[in-house]
């Protein structure tokens, strides 16, 4: 079985993340670039299956600038067999439409049985790309899975709904996205780090995939960031000190703020 894991390199949530106000893109220099944690968990799902079932091949795929190589090498050091990096200047500021189209092209090219992705990234928080990829490919999609069972020919798992949990299954090939309910990723060991350098890492451009940056999706153009504004600094709150009339003051404050 061939499993493609989608990983995204994001600004580390540990520090303060910033947007470049002039371009509207995230300022990659401001924070450390790391693999999104949910992407690591997605890889863990694939690696766990590979540990149990011989003959499983795990491919990590990412789209992004040159720095993504480091993220993919980390994925390889954790145990993935090969990596694909989509690198093209035409992809700067790509929206979910373009991203999903490009990733779908990579998946189609790789002939994957299962595509495993995180439910949403910590920077964009769109949570739509996996579903869009499934749509592009005409494949079934199980989103936000809290657990995953892979058998030859079928993937199943449970997902949380507003009222309970739902058991879902789909025939392979399929696209799934997972939640933080699945276990955290393993640490790369020494052997993994040493062998990661020798594993294949393929770099693809848009032309290699037969795509053009200007290509439209379903007749629509790309969405672009029109304007970005810095969040205003927080203002100090109002302090109410009880001198016998705090109740009245509180009520007036709530009324003035149209909170009651």
């Amino acid at each position: 079985m061939k499993i493609v894991v989608l990983m995204k390199q994001v600004p580390d949530t540990w520090g303060e993340r910033t947007l470049d106000v002039t371009t509207g893109l995230s300022d990659r220099a401001a924070t450390d670039a790391v693999i999104d944690e949910i992407g690591e968990r997605a890889l863990e799902v694939a690696l766990t299956h590979r540990d149990a079932v011989k003959g499983t091949e795990v491919v990590v795929v990412s789209m992004g600038p040159a720095s993504v190589t480091a993220a993919l090498r980390k994925g390889l050091s954790m145990g993935a067999d090969s990596a694909i990096h989509v690198l093209d200047d035409g992809l700067v500021g790509a929206d979910a439409w373009l991203t999903s189209k490009v990733l779908a092209a990579v998946v189609a090219r790789s002939g994957a049985d299962v595509v495993v992705a995180g439910n949403e990234s910590t920077d964009g928080r769109g949570g739509v790309v996996p579903a869009m990829i499934a749509e592009h490919l005409g494949l079934p999609h199980l989103s936000f899975l809290n657990d995953v069972t892979l058998t030859p020919g079928e993937v199943s798992g449970s997902r949380s709904t507003d009222t309970g949990t739902l058991q879902a299954h789909a025939a392979l090939p399929a696209v799934i996205s997972i939640t933080e309910g699945l276990p955290e990723a393993r640490f790369p060991n020494f052997k993994g780090i040493m062998t990661a350098k020798k594993k294949p890492l393929e770099v693809l451009s848009l032309a290699d995939l037969g795509l053009a940056a200007a290509s439209t999706v379903a007749g629509n153009g790309r969405s672009v960031v029109v304007s970005t504004v810095q969040r205003p600094a927080r203002t100090a709150g109002t302090k109410t000190i009880d001198e016998g009339n705090a109740g009245v003051e509180l009520a007036e404050f709530l009324v003035a703020g149209r909170l009651i």
Binding site: D12, W14, G15, T18, D20, V21, T22, D27, A30, D32, E37, E184, A185, F187, P188, F190, I193
Partner: protein, 310 residues
């Protein structure tokens, strides 16, 4: 963008303050040296130096030279201190830890309450602390059992005028001739005493206060000794240690390096290169430990006593 501009501004400010700070420091140094030399030239200064040559006489029965265990103790202490300062600084920096460690609550150390999750950096800091404290306890027992304590604990009040005399001699750039194999000058005695009997216990008691081992629910104790005090003191104590190390190593190398290194590393008095080479080997060990203290190699060790997570 705004971040880099802010950094640049800060850098310019640092440069500007340096332009003032360096000449000021040089001027203060010059005044200090000339002032000390002027004081020594005065009849009163000269007679003070005659009365107090810079070192107190040791009580009879004080040991001469150093035993081998002291060399080991000194090396281990330096080794642990270096890594403790480094890991403490990493913990303080607030960077994302490579992993977190939760103690397995079984085996030798078992507590009623569930252990807290700490970063791998803090785990290393605390583990080194424990080893350093153990080393310190052995050191205390041995120096008091063998009489070596007489070398670093002042036993008469003339240590203070003698320390002043030694300071005057250092400042006037006519340094006191010393014989560390037999007796330290009073400034050395006071500073070694301060490190061993004041700074080290202070570092331990403030560190302990901030650690998970401290009882959280001891209301009266914690009111008498709030954690804020420990936080405020722990870092300055580290600066004291760092400052001491810089001055100590500089003076050791500047006042007869081969003889001094022979004393503490080869346990002999003389000008041979043996002490230097042992010292050099100890520095190599420290460098190796510094480089090896990385998550990849620490993880398997940490996993022996706990579970790792992200």
């Amino acid at each position: 963008m705004s971040v880099s501009i802010g950094k640049k501004k800060k850098a310019t400010r640092t440069w500007r303050s340096l332009i003032w700070a360096i000449p000021t420091a040089l001027l203060v140094l010059l005044v200090l040296v000339l002032g000390a030399q002027w004081l020594r030239a005065l009849p009163a200064g000269a007679s003070f130096l005659r009365d107090y040559p810079g070192a107190s006489a040791l009580p009879g029965g004080a040991p001469v030279g150093f035993p081998a265990w002291l060399g080991w103790q000194h090396f281990l202490n330096a080794f642990f201190l270096l890594l403790i300062i480094r890991t403490g600084w990493i913990v303080r920096s607030g960077r994302r830890p490579a992993a977190f460690w939760t103690r397995n609550n079984k085996g030798l150390i078992r507590t009623k309450n569930a252990p807290t999750r700490i970063s791998l950096d803090l785990w290393l800091h605390l583990s080194l602390d424990a080893l350093w404290v153990l080393n310190g306890i052995v050191f205390y027992v041995l120096i008091f059992a063998t009489g070596q304590w007489l070398r670093i604990v002042p036993t008469s009040w003339d240590v203070f005028p003698n320390a002043l005399s030694a300071a005057l001699q250092y400042a006037s750039l006519s340094w006191p001739t010393e014989d560390g194999w037999v007796n330290y000058n009073s400034l050395q005695v006071l500073s070694y005493f301060a490190v061993v009997f004041l700074a080290a216990p202070l570092a331990i008691i403030t560190g302990l206060r901030m650690s998970g081992a401290w009882p959280k629910d001891a209301t009266r104790l914690n009111k008498a000794y709030p954690i804020e005090i420990a936080r405020a003191v722990h870092l300055p104590v580290m600066f004291f240690f760092a400052g001491f190390i810089v001055v100590h190593v500089t003076l050791v190398l500047a006042t007869g390096a081969l003889r001094n290194l022979n004393h503490m590393y080869a346990m002999q008095d003389g000008e041979s290169w043996l002490g230097f080479w042992i010292f050099a080997a100890s520095v190599v060990v420290m460098i190796i430990a510094w480089i090896a203290a990385r998550p990849l190699l620490l993880r398997p060790v940490a996993q022996l006593t706990g579970t790792l997570s992200r």
